[in-house]
Assembly symmetry: C2
Homo-oligomer: 550 residues x 2
């Protein structure tokens, strides 16, 4: 319990923060914890890892290695090799740890998990480099998303688990008065873990989308196998290695967490997912594969799949501010965030602003100007990052097939440091409201669609239908009319889409803060889970009560 005592304050603050939902300092609370030499040490560690085997995992006995990561900035292979294990070995080793981890108290588990985060903190800069050169994120986003923001979500899962498992007393005496006698029973309540978990990572948010399920599994007693995307392994490998070290140093079998790296030629995801010993699956990725995962019977499944995020524009104080804000949201990591805006619903009659009544064309023009200006601003172009995959670049090249009118051809952009960076700035296409096929799909990457609608009611009707049928992680609404704001929010909430109202300045629709914003609602086709609502934890264990007469 010593690790629990060490972190009891962090844990209790985190538990409180989940309930309050106001701001909780990002992880770690004191950024100076990194140390002043951290950036330089991180860079050195990253450079030392390149073209070398990743040896920090406490998983042994492999005969094969895999590794195919390449940098979206340099186009070159990272040359890192990870041990490869067959499915049966992974499952067998995971199963062997079940009893030990299930018997460990939630306090002890929490202590170990927070200790792993504290160690990962020291490697945030290495993780940032690893993320930058596997995902294509900018250095700043790589640091934030894979470091503090991911650790925040991990701590949130730990705290939610801690709270839920501590919810019922471990033991009570129950008395039932029965006239002259009283019947007494001693009762114990146990949160029994479901079993072996599998967390399937994606190629863009390698740690951020993986650690919630991983830490939620672990806090609730479920040993877990992490199957990273073959193109983005390094960042999450560091988290796993640190977890294994802490486990091992504290007398636990490090196989409580295992990494299951594989290769594009020898993918093991389906074999793992369908294995009868796997009881829990967390998945982030495409709708097609996510639907397959959800269809596997007798598993508890948590998914985040594709969604189509809408922007409904009715009216605003200052449309330029609106478009500046949206241009930023759409350009961040070249629209490769699951929360990026894609569909802009604008009424043909134009929009009211405090300054003037603007025509539809003027509004579209503003959007176009802001997106182009941002892409071409040398100081700001870093936010675009690079495209994670060639497929995304291809989607932009084939944009004419959509059947729309190109409002803004993707501006030519380059990265001053990396001549070979896979960079594509956002393109804007106007599609007809009747061309539902065009805008009823996620066009992952830097593609914005403008849809001319009859009026705001029509915009809401289309956007709501889209959420119900295709899902969405988020929705932006701009209106100066309080009545409309309430009514439209209610409509969108009915299909389980959260609404960001009149976001300008530093409020961006794609940012969801741990301990305050739920990420995903789990209620629409974009996924069945939410980081981290109570169900994100409660489905991972089963309450069992035992009784004995006293």
């Amino acid at each position: 319990m010593s690790l629990y005592n060490k972190y009891a304050e962090i844990i209790s603050k985190a538990v409180k923060a989940i309930g309050e939902r106001t701001f909780f300092a990002q992880y770690p609370e004191h950024p100076k914890a990194y140390g002043s030499e951290a950036p330089e040490l991180g860079k050195l560690a990253y450079e030392a890892q390149l073209n070398n085997p990743f040896t920090a995992l406490l998983q042994e006995g492999n005969t094969e290695v895999v590794g195919e990561e390449s940098s979206p900035f340099t186009g070159e292979l990272l040359g890192i090799k990870y041990p490869f294990f067959k499915v049966d070995i992974l499952v067998e080793r995971g199963e062997a740890t079940k009893k030990q981890w299930a018997k460990t108290s939630v306090e002890e588990r929490a202590g170990i998990l927070v200790e792993s985060l504290e160690r990962v903190v020291k490697r945030f800069h290495e993780i940032a480099w690893a993320t930058h050169h596997t995902t294509g994120q900018s250095p700043a986003m790589s640091f934030q998303a894979s470091g503090p923001h991911a650790a925040d979500r991990a701590l949130e899962a730990i705290a939610m688990g801690f709270m839920e498992i501590k919810r019922f007393p471990e033991e009570v005496t129950w008395n039932k008065p029965m006239g002259r006698v009283t019947l007494s029973q001693s009762k114990t309540y146990r949160a029994i873990p479901k079993g072996l978990g599998l967390v399937i990572g994606c190629s863009t948010f390698v740690t951020w989308n993986t650690v919630p399920g991983l830490y939620a599994n672990l806090i609730s007693g479920n040993p877990t196998i992490v199957k990273p995307h073959p193109s983005s392994v390094y960042p999450i490998a560091i988290y796993i290695a640190e977890l294994q070290s802490v486990l091992s140093e504290n007398g636990f079998d490090p196989n409580i967490v295992q990494m299951a790296a594989d290769s594009s030629e020898q993918l093991i995801t389906k074999d793992l997912a369908e294995h009868s010993a796997i009881k829990l699956i967390d998945f982030t990725g495409s709708t097609q594969f996510g639907n397959y995962i959800e269809s596997i019977p007798n598993k508890v499944i948590f998914t985040e799949k594709a969604g189509v995020n809408s922007v409904i524009i009715d009216s605003a104080k200052d449309m330029r501010e609106v478009m500046r804000n949206l241009a930023f949201s759409a350009s961040l990591y070249s629209g490769q965030m699951c929360t990026a805006p894609q569909n802009f619903f604008i009424p043909e009659s134009g929009v009211e602003t405090e300054i003037e009544k603007m025509t539809y064309e003027q509004v579209v023009d503003l959007l176009q100007n802001e997106v182009a200006a941002l892409a071409l601003n040398k100081k700001m172009s870093g936010i675009l990052g690079a495209l994670n995959s060639e497929k995304t670049a291809e989607r932009v090249r084939n944009i004419d097939n959509l059947g729309g009118r190109v409002v803004l051809a993707s501006p030519k952009v380059s990265n001053p440091d990396f001549a070979n960076a896979r960079m594509v700035a956002p393109t804007i296409v106007e599609v007809d409201a009747t061309n539902t096929a065009a805008y009823s799909q996620e066009l992952f990457g830097p593609i914005l669609l403008v849809i001319k609608t009859k009026d705001t009611d029509h915009s809401v009707e289309l956007a709501k239908k889209l959420v119900a049928e295709k899902g969405a992680l988020t929705c932006a609404l701009y209106t100066s009319d309080e009545g409309k704001a309430a009514a439209i929010t209610e409509e969108m909430n009915e299909v389980f889409a959260p609404v960001s109202l009149n976001f300008t300045g530093f409020s961006f629709m794609n940012q969801h803060a741990a301990f305050s914003d739920f990420h995903g609602t789990g209620g629409n086709p974009a996924g069945n889970a939410s980081f981290s609502d109570p169900s994100f934890i409660n489905k991972r264990f089963v309450w069992v009560g035992n009784r004995v007469p006293v």
Copy 2:
């Protein structure tokens, strides 16, 4: 909110009781609330209802009626007719109430729901008669199970819902320090109901198994259609009628709760369950139909199906006390409780007691004696009740097909008040441990199986496998060895079966108390839900957060 204010104390006590899991007085807290004339008035009401249409529902416009209930005690039809509505009408009316009920605060919903229970309390005696003559339960069980114990479970669901929906603040201001400026957003959190619910009742515990899902749906804002079993409608019709009255009197559409009575010739369950508007289904009944329900895509489903409950006998203080206790548990309502013991695993080497070492044969003999004695004791035979259906009687008649040795042929019993009562006392059959087919199925009704095992380890192995593969609601263990007790409890808990240890006297394995015992764990094939763990509520709504910059 006036109804909420009226019952705020009851609600807050219930919320507290859920967390504490110690005793909470059975509903209503003061049994004198029934009034001294209640028994007589209840009987009169019941008699007045016989052979008449049930007119208390606020559902109109039907052109057909249904009604086929008959008494397991008299063999006669009750002659009560209920309105019949087509699926489309029920769904359309339910859908029309969605917005109104979703917009109602959880406090107001809770007030209305508790008020409905307070009114049902006044009709507990009528409900008891209705239950007695539809299910075959004894008068005492009919009163307890359909009255106070059902109302307890309803209040538990209300309280769990109240607690979960009040868990996050409705509105907060979130501040993010960003150097010189602070980003502020106003955030609201809403528990959005999933949509229209369907609760499918069973023929034995008509209200007890129906009200948890019904009240859980209602407290979380989901209008609900109740589809009772055609052979047992009357008891739940009273609950629904009272709910509709309270709703209507308080300005709500009574169709927020609808009854969907049907007939064996024209069953509408599948059409209702598969309707796209139905988002939530609660089901109690057979494994076969439950598996079908669970297979319907895109619904949130809660099931209680068949299970096989085991008794593991290792050692005991006094084996006679053990067998007396188990004979009672097995005989209550002729083994037609989902929590009744069926399989008795006894080691061939016999069992140690504080008095003597008993042989296997002596132990079986004791069980046989106690079961027979109870059945033939005129004062106690009332506990058998009557068999709910002819199928159950047939199962006992065909017991020879099991391939076992009959240890106790079902003793001839009769009911002094009802010559035609469908009464069958328990039979005991010894089956070989290798005859897994015989004991790996629920033999619903008064059938006890004795399985001779090599030793207690063998018993546990068989019982554990049975839970994992066929499911169980509960498990009884008798051992005087503390180490064994802990180890076997852990084994059974691993497959999500709760353990009742060394139950004698007034502790019975089939009794699960609301606010203290979970009913079902939801973790094994006996069902995917538990009355009422947090998931029983949390799956019925979706957390959605909305944000606006301040």
